[in-house]
């Protein structure tokens, strides 16, 4: 067991750190449009310096980084409070899925613009009737003379209004069981049949969109992984989503907790025994998230496939972040209901943590069934 970084990992981190010190553009400008252009530019900067598509093989313009290097990257980005990139989903899911399941033509066509953020990607999986039970989705794609005609609705997509391509899972065969009739498409968002509406959340912001498809068209060659294989392709994509996220989220938790401790000291509450217990518990949770994520990483590197540990850290993180933001409200005391610059937003936003990217109930099922081998309730 060795929790220090290897010389190569060390070198990777140092290179990244000093690069970030010189190039981190700092806070985003106000206004959604401006902020997004800012992220686009930032991603291009990263791409030019070879920091985009970290996990991608070098032949596709990536860096072929190890899982640990990816984790270090997330950690350092969080620590440096660097802005997010414009094309998150393209880099984390779109690229990997095309590389894993795409044709040579598709690789030629799609990968480069993902890296440079020329073309933004979004994800069309969830539907109003299909949240946890993804395989029950209803969006229909019917083939008529060489192209697919898509009708349906998707929700909880990010950046849909900026996106050129949508990773769309739709039902292409009504007559086979749930999981079997699905196909994975790349849908051009710039067309008649696609309408994007902002989806406002309880914070007031519209971080997500709804996509309404009314006879949208997709050429046959935009299928990824073959007709009827959509479930398999989607699942592997989702697995990519979580790898190494744990470490980044642990760092973010500790940064937020640090800000909260400043508040606590400013208010002269640092000797309050109850506040101290709550702060300590959150600190410990953040550390165990970091440590569980690292252990998962080691295991994944040995086995090659991401295990269910990701479910543990995601579940832990949502609990801890909700506890943190509730403590922040309690620290503000009688004035807590007043809308302030960011704690109010964080507090309300945190309610979704135990829902987005797998509800805590589903994560517990995964742990119970896949790790503990308890019987499925089916």
């Amino acid at each position: 067991m060795d929790l220090t970084l290897s010389p190569q990992e060390q070198a990777f981190r140092d290179e990244l750190r000093s690069w970030l010190e010189e190039n981190n553009p700092g806070d985003e400008p106000a206004g959604d449009e401006a902020a997004f252009e800012f992220r686009r530019k930032w991603q291009r900067q990263l791409a030019d310096a070879g920091w985009a598509g970290l996990s991608w093989p070098e032949e596709y313009g990536g860096r072929g980084a190890t899982l640990i290097e990816q984790a270090i990257f997330n950690e350092e980005i969080s620590r440096a409070k660097a802005p997010s990139v414009a094309n998150v989903l393209g880099l984390v899911m779109g690229g990997p899925v095309v590389i894993a399941h795409g044709t040579d033509e598709q690789k030629q066509r799609y990968l480069k613009p993902i890296l440079t953020a020329e073309e933004i990607w979004c994800q069309g999986f969830s539907e109003p009737e299909s949240g946890s039970d993804l395989a029950s989705l209803k969006t229909k794609a019917v083939k008529s003379n060489g192209e697919w005609v898509v009708t349906g609705q998707k929700v909880w997509t990010t950046f849909a209004h900026e996106a050129k391509w949508c990773m769309l899972v739709a039902r292409t065969d009504q007559d086979v069981p749930k999981h079997k009739g699905l196909t994975y498409f790349l849908m051009d968002m710039e067309q008649e049949g696609v309408e994007v509406k902002p989806l406002h959340q309880i914070t007031g912001e519209a971080e997500f969109n709804e996509i309404f498809m009314n006879e949208a068209r997709i050429p046959d060659e935009n299928i990824v992984g073959g007709e009827g294989n959509g479930w398999m392709v989607a699942i592997t994509t989702l697995m990519h989503e979580r790898v190494g996220i744990g470490l980044g989220s642990a760092v973010q938790l500790k940064i937020a907790l640090g800000e909260l401790m400043d508040q606590i000291r400013e208010r002269g509450m640092e000797e309050d025994p109850i506040i101290r217990q709550r702060v300590a518990q959150i600190y410990i949770e953040a550390e165990t998230i970091r440590l569980n994520a690292s252990r998962g990483l080691t295991r994944t590197m040995k086995t090659g496939i991401p295990g269910p540990e990701g479910s543990l850290t995601k579940w832990q993180w949502s609990d801890a972040n909700q506890a943190l933001t509730e403590l922040a409200m309690d620290v503000r005391g009688p004035e807590a209901p007043i809308v302030d610059d960011h704690w109010t937003y964080r507090f309300l936003r945190a309610r979704a943590n135990s829902i987005e990217g797998g509800t805590t109930e589903i994560l517990k099922n995964i742990v119970a069934e896949r790790v503990l081998g308890l019987p499925k309730l089916r």
């Binding site: 949240g131 909880w156 007043i338």
Partner: protein, 338 residues
């Protein structure tokens, strides 16, 4: 012993439920909340029903009923999440009634009872009252400054709008100007206000629970209504436990206010502490049952979630009330207690 509403009280409850259901449909609540406004016409109707004076003597134009009847209305107003100045006005009325001189009562209570010269209440923390509901449209503000109460004219108080997470209620900050003191039983009045607030939280819990249960029956995932999974059904059972317990504690506190005042200090803190926790846990739990849709602005649950969190912070946190419970239950006062 009869731990249930009398027929009259039952009648008040069902009238309130019907009235609010027809006047404050969720679309209406949303319309007002998004504009950050109240509906004066509806307030007029509420005044016609005599609600603002429910606990005020007939002499002053009230109905001469008790805190219990007040909590019935408060619970229903919470259940509807109705944007109205009812609570702030009632709070001011309770202070004038219990702490005001007969002269002050004669001067101020009629306006409170008719709803035409409303009052409101602000709690002063280092020099100003940060969260005073409805101060702009009230005729007078009662300022509570540790233990003592004084009446200030709204004009003199210079209310400034404050944005809170609960946009179904309009809050203002008010500077602590000196006004005429209320010399009477301020503590007793504040404890009654706490009970009224607890009742509102009970109504919020009830509604959030009903929304969750209804959704859990309809929503299907994996070919089953989600309410068939214990992860959801046990959650809903917990909501019922906390809602019913908050209701029981609040009913009891209201009853002591009218019948056994010596028990009110302990009972009011129990009610406020329990209801504040329940209000937050039940609404947050209901959001979890709803999943994504419960997190959207277009769904109405968030009005209740935000109201619950805000009510919980007004007139003493759950923690401070628990500390008072410990005190009254027999543990000497703690210096460190917040």
């Amino acid at each position: 012993m009869n731990f249930d509403y009398s027929d009259d009280q039952q009648a008040i409850k069902s009238t309130a439920r019907e009235f609010l259901a027809s006047r404050f449909k969720l679309e209406k609540v949303r319309e007002l909340a998004e504009k950050g406004e109240y509906d004066d016409g509806l307030w007029g109707q509420i005044a016609e029903l005599g609600w603002p004076g429910i606990f005020i003597d007939e002499g002053a134009g009230g109905q001469d009923l008790g805190v219990l009847e007040l909590t019935i209305l408060q619970e229903e107003l919470g259940y509807a999440c109705a944007p109205t100045p009812f609570f702030s006005n009632a709070a001011a009325g309770l202070l004038v009634k219990h702490a005001g001189s007969s002269e002050q009562q004669e001067r101020l209570l009629p306006g409170v009872a008719s709803g035409e010269a409303r009052g409101t209440v602000g709690v002063v923390t280092n020099g100003s009252a940060p969260l005073v509901p409805d101060a702009d449209s009230a005729a007078f503000v009662v300022l509570l400054d540790n233990g003592s109460a004084s009446v200030v004219e709204t004009a003199a108080a210079q209310p400034e709008k404050v944005e809170t997470i609960d946009s179904t209620r309009r809050f203002f900050s008010v500077g602590a100007g000196d006004g005429e003191a209320l010399e009477g039983d301020v503590e007793g009045a504040v404890q009654r206000i706490e009970v009224a607030l607890a009742a509102e939280l009970v109504g919020v819990c009830q509604r959030a629970m009903e929304m969750a249960v209804e959704y859990a029956k309809d929503r299907k995932q994996f070919d089953r209504p989600i309410g068939a999974y214990q992860g959801v059904s046990h959650r809903c059972a917990q909501m019922l436990l906390e809602t019913e317990s908050a209701r029981a504690a609040t009913l009891y506190a209201a009853w002591t206010a009218d019948n056994e005042p010596e028990s009110l200090p302990l009972a009011s803190s129990m009610a406020k502490a329990y209801s504040a926790d329940a209000g937050w846990r039940v609404t947050a739990s209901s959001l979890q049952v709803h999943g994504g849709i419960g997190f959207t602005w277009e769904h109405d649950l968030h009005w209740f979630l935000k109201r619950a969190r805000t009510d919980g912070a007004l007139f003493g946190s759950a923690r401070s009330h628990r500390d008072r419970v410990a005190e009254l239950a027999g543990l000497a006062r703690s210096a460190a207690a917040v």
